[in-house]
Amino acid sequence: MSNLSSVIKSIQDIMRQDSGVDGDAQRISQLTWLLFLKVFDALEEELELTRDDYKSPIPEAMRWRNWAADPEGITGDALLDFVNNQLFATLKSLSGDAQRNPRGYVVRGVFEDAYNYMKSGQLLRQVINKLNAIDFNRQAERHQFNDLYEKILKDLQSAGNAGEFYTPRAVTQFMVDMVNPRLGERVMDPATGTGGFLVCAIEHLRKQVHNTEEEAILQNSIGGVEKKQMPHMLCVTNLMLHGIEVPSLIAHGNTLARPLRDYTPAERVDVILTNPPFGGIEEPGIEHGFPADVRTKETADLFLVLIKHILKTNGRAALVLPDGTLFGEGVKTRIKEQLLAECNLHTIVRLPNGVFAPYTGIKTNLLFFTKGKPTEHVWYYEHPYPAGVKNYNKTKPIRIEEFDAEKAWWGSEVDGFAARVENERAWRVSIEQIKAANYNLDQKNPHAAEVVSHDPEQLLVDYARLQLEAQSLRDQLKSILAQSLGAPA
């Protein structure tokens, strides 16, 4: 690990000297396509060993082994010329569609919007040589690489894009565990980001794989869409590293741009796991793909409508949503009304502040629902900070062990979660109560003593309110006393 991370660090240091690479985002983007090619080549090496008829979708001269692997290979302007004018041009125009040549399709998809930022061929050669120090075919190193990879993903997030948050591994893990995808089911994330949920789902499904037929089923059961180029590229590489040979089911595009009515029954999925971008607004026109009564520009709301639509009957979903969606009104009320009528929203896990720190301090919830039956009641579970922790942060993130209490409490959907009991963290709210509250899902824990907020914004609001109330009380006191003590009339 320390070896790998020092390699990555020294690569970043080299890139810093290059006048073309500006900022973390570009640095990571550059590193990503290089990594992709290297990883792709490593996987191909394996495939060549195991399959006699393996044929690379990449022309021979463009393969990593043939232009990059030799540390004494082309460098300087020659390398730069090759990369800019041959490599990128070729990969961007690879022939092949998703069915007949899926590998070519994946490579082309990755390079579609990729760009070589580096302007010095010498520095580029240094970077490549550093990369070659890593052996992705060694199982041990590949395993470590996954961790390292997540670190790069985190750096990417630190570089900062509004509305997109790296979902902490503990949260994705918990959601996947609870939704429990079974082999043969189709799993989908309509906003993959860098693929955290899908990778988690793959690991979950792989435990159910015992032979090559089952592996083939797994290979074709993971799908997703990502709007932005760099997360998409990272997602594809991420999936390849987790054993998806041809991540051709990961599309680069905006899920919401496709009108709802275009989805055929055959396209519906069994399981949706996602953390849709929230707080974002869609470009004008997108909402026209949605039924008139739920038209809105707000991204998270549209995703909720979409997820409800593309789930199969009895399909399960788990998603991350901000507090705002739970108590929002107007179109949000109608969306929630429909959701509760068509799906059984059985559980909402309320997360404390800071789970997504440092990207956002916004309060979030995990919603679990199953399509096909209307909601009768919603179970809430308030996830507490571990003892002694006041907030999560980059170095002390939320941990999967913290969800042990929820897992023990969870019960089984088959019997309608009959085993669940109310406790100081868990409480049940009937659909009547929710209707009476105008579909406000922001239902407070009746068992909790008043908890101290650690959200500065909330505290400031509280403070201002208390000051205002104190002022009004002072005014009353003053006026009564003035009556008694003021100058005799």
Binding site: N391, H454, P456, L459, L473
Partner: protein
């Protein structure tokens, strides 16, 4: 931004850049309870994370500094001055507590040291301490801001000579490793002469003294203090050993940056000192101002003076009543005004108190004839000179004994005290039971009385208070709403044809401790209570006063609650904003 920040301290701008929300609400935090302490913690945290001053890429990196330390250490080893050190455990990436800026390095504390070791305490108990000689430093002398030597012990030079291994040298760092002051760390001044240390204090001696100033900041920062608490009071409770201390992870900046950080920290700490001092002064002055201004009200000689005095308060009412303590003071003033007849206007059509007084006399004689109360001794009437203030129209000033029946409690045979029974038996301690805050609703002991003892029942409408012992000073007064028994450390006053609620108001303004006439044991007797002057308003005015006071006290209670809540919110806000 805070006026204090802009005016006083240009270097505070660094905090501005680092923590915009912190600075936006700086005043709120600085004034919060413990807010300055949080700021100090924040400053140290930022300092050791390299966020307090910008990095200078031209600084020689810490790795070079570490090489020099190693070379110096090797030289000392070669000269036989120190023992060869063992190789230190590698620091794994995942063990690193936070990201460091470029040019910084994580090391284990031992890597910077030529010596780390606890002192020792000479044998022989107190005998070894002498009035002068060589200083002997104990944990109570070690403070983060330096050595405090006012209570320092001394040992004989001979004893000192025997303990050369634990001698303190100038520039040493001293670190408390046990006891309540664990984690406290002092930097020994460079002009310090000599001393020894006890086994509770560890000597931390760096290879290069130039490292000390920054290292001291690291040792007192949360980063190290939290580690100390973790090993000390964590689940395992393993305690802090010197070996563990030596393995602590220390962030090392380039040398040049160390000195910039230390300078900046010192500047900011001075700002904190100033904030703290001005905060304390402000609190004192505020309390004094509130007490003085409110005090003028009951002392007003005329209605005009009262109106003037009130006007002065009204003008600054919001400023004065901005904290719970000020509301307490206002409430006391309201009560005083109430029993002075200044809170509600007099009504000339009310039946005057003099008539009420005659009725009380008749009622008393009636009760005496029935044997319900004892015949009272005539009290010395209150002369005009004795009257503390001019009485409002229709009021009378009388002795307490004239309008109250005063009773002391009885002690029962232990056998009569029960866990349950017909009547509550209330002792002083029972006044503190939950539910008894205002009136007596519960007790720990009960009595089933016989015919004779039933006479000792305290009737409804009485007010009870402690009459003996230190409890007098607590000024507790409780209302009796069902007949009860009280023990002999308790006294009751029962109003005769006076509203109990008014009587309670009045007695709340009386400081029982000032009535104490006991010599060795504080005590209040009938002779202390009965002659007290009691301002008696007409009956219907009593009722108006009570209504008005209750209204005002409810408002005061609400206001106090909001102000306390605002203070604690302020505290939480400081916590939340100061988190790094």
């Amino acid at each position: 931004m805070s006026a204090v920040l802009t005016a006083q301290e240009p270097s505070a701008k660094y905090l501005v850049q680092l923590q915009p929300p912190l600075v936006r609400h700086f005043d709120l935090i600085a004034q919060a309870p413990g807010g300055v302490a949080r700021l100090r913690e924040l400053i140290l945290t930022l300092a050791v994370q390299g966020k307090l001053v910008p990095q200078d890429p031209s600084d020689e990196p810490a790795s070079e500094l570490l090489k020099k330390i190693r070379a110096e250490k090797d030289r000392l080893i070669a000269e036989g001055k120190i023992k060869r050190d063992k190789a230190l455990a590698e620091i794994a990436d995942e063990a690193k507590p936070f990201e460091l800026p470029d040019g910084w390095q994580w090391v284990r504390l031992n890597a910077l040291l030529q010596k780390i070791g606890a002192g020792s305490t000479p044998l022989g108990g107190k005998e070894v301490y002498v009035s002068s000689g060589v200083k002997f430093l104990r944990s109570q002398n070690v403070w983060d801001d330096g050595l405090r030597l006012s209570s320092v012990a001394y040992i004989r030079p001979e004893t000192h000579a025997k303990m050369a291994g634990t001698a303190v040298l100038p520039n040493d760092l001293l670190f408390n490793i046990t006891g309540a002051s664990i984690g406290r760390c002092a930097l020994v001044p460079s002009d310090f002469d000599e001393a020894n240390v006890s086994q509770h204090v560890t000597i931390v001696r760096t290879v290069l003294p130039v490292l000390n100033a920054f290292l001291h900041k690291v040792l007192v920062s949360r980063h190290v203090q939290q580690t100390v608490m973790d090993v000390q009071v964590g689940v395992s409770r393993e305690g802090l050993s010197i070996a563990k201390l030596g393995n602590f992870l220390i962030p090392v900046p380039p040398l040049a940056e160390q000195s910039r950080i230390v300078t900046r920290v010192e500047e900011l700490m001075q700002l904190c000192d100033a904030l703290e001092a001005s905060g304390q002064l402000e609190a004192q002055q505020h309390a004094q101002l509130v007490n003085t201004l409110l005090g003028t009200l009951p002392q007003s000689e005329t209605p005009e003076a009262l109106a003037d005095n009130w006007q002065r308060i009204a003008t600054h009412f919001d400023l004065l009543l901005d904290r719970p303590e000020a509301v307490d003071a206002l409430e006391q003033t309201i009560l005083q005004l109430a029993v002075r007849g200044l809170l509600v206007p007099q009504d000339p059509t009310d039946e005057p108190a003099s008539v009420l007084l005659q009725k009380i006399r008749i009622e008393k004689d009636h009760l005496i004839a029935q044997g319900k109360i004892k015949r009272d001794k005539p009290l010395q009437p209150i002369t005009d000179e004795e009257k503390p203030f001019e009485l409002p129209l229709g009021w009378e000033l009388v002795n307490v004994g004239t309008v109250f029946q005063t009773t002391s409690g009885t002690t029962f045979d232990l056998g009569m005290e029960k866990d349950a029974g017909t009547y509550m038996y209330v002792k002083v301690g029972d006044m503190n039971l939950p539910g008894n805050e205002i009136e007596i609703t519960t007790s720990s002991r009960f009595i089933d009385p016989d015919e004779k003892t039933a006479k000792a029942l305290i009737p409804v409408g009485s007010i009870i208070f402690p009459k003996r012992g230190g409890a007098i000073a607590t000024n507790k007064k409780r209302l009796v709403t069902t007949p009860i028994f009280v023990d002999l450390n308790t006294m009751a006053i029962t109003p005769i044809m006076v509203l109990t609620a008014y009587a309670l108001l009045w007695i709340t303004t009386i400081d029982l401790a000032s009535l104490n006439t006991g010599t060795s044991v504080p005590q209040i007797n009938h002779k202390d209570i009965d002659p007290l002057p009691f301002p008696l308003p007409p009956l219907s005015e009593q009722s108006r006063i009570v209504t008005r006071v209750n209204e005002l006290r409810d408002l005061c209670a609400d206001l106090r609650q909001r102000l306390s809540a605002a203070q604690s919110t302020q505290g939480h806000l400081a916590d939340a904003l100061v988190v790094v």
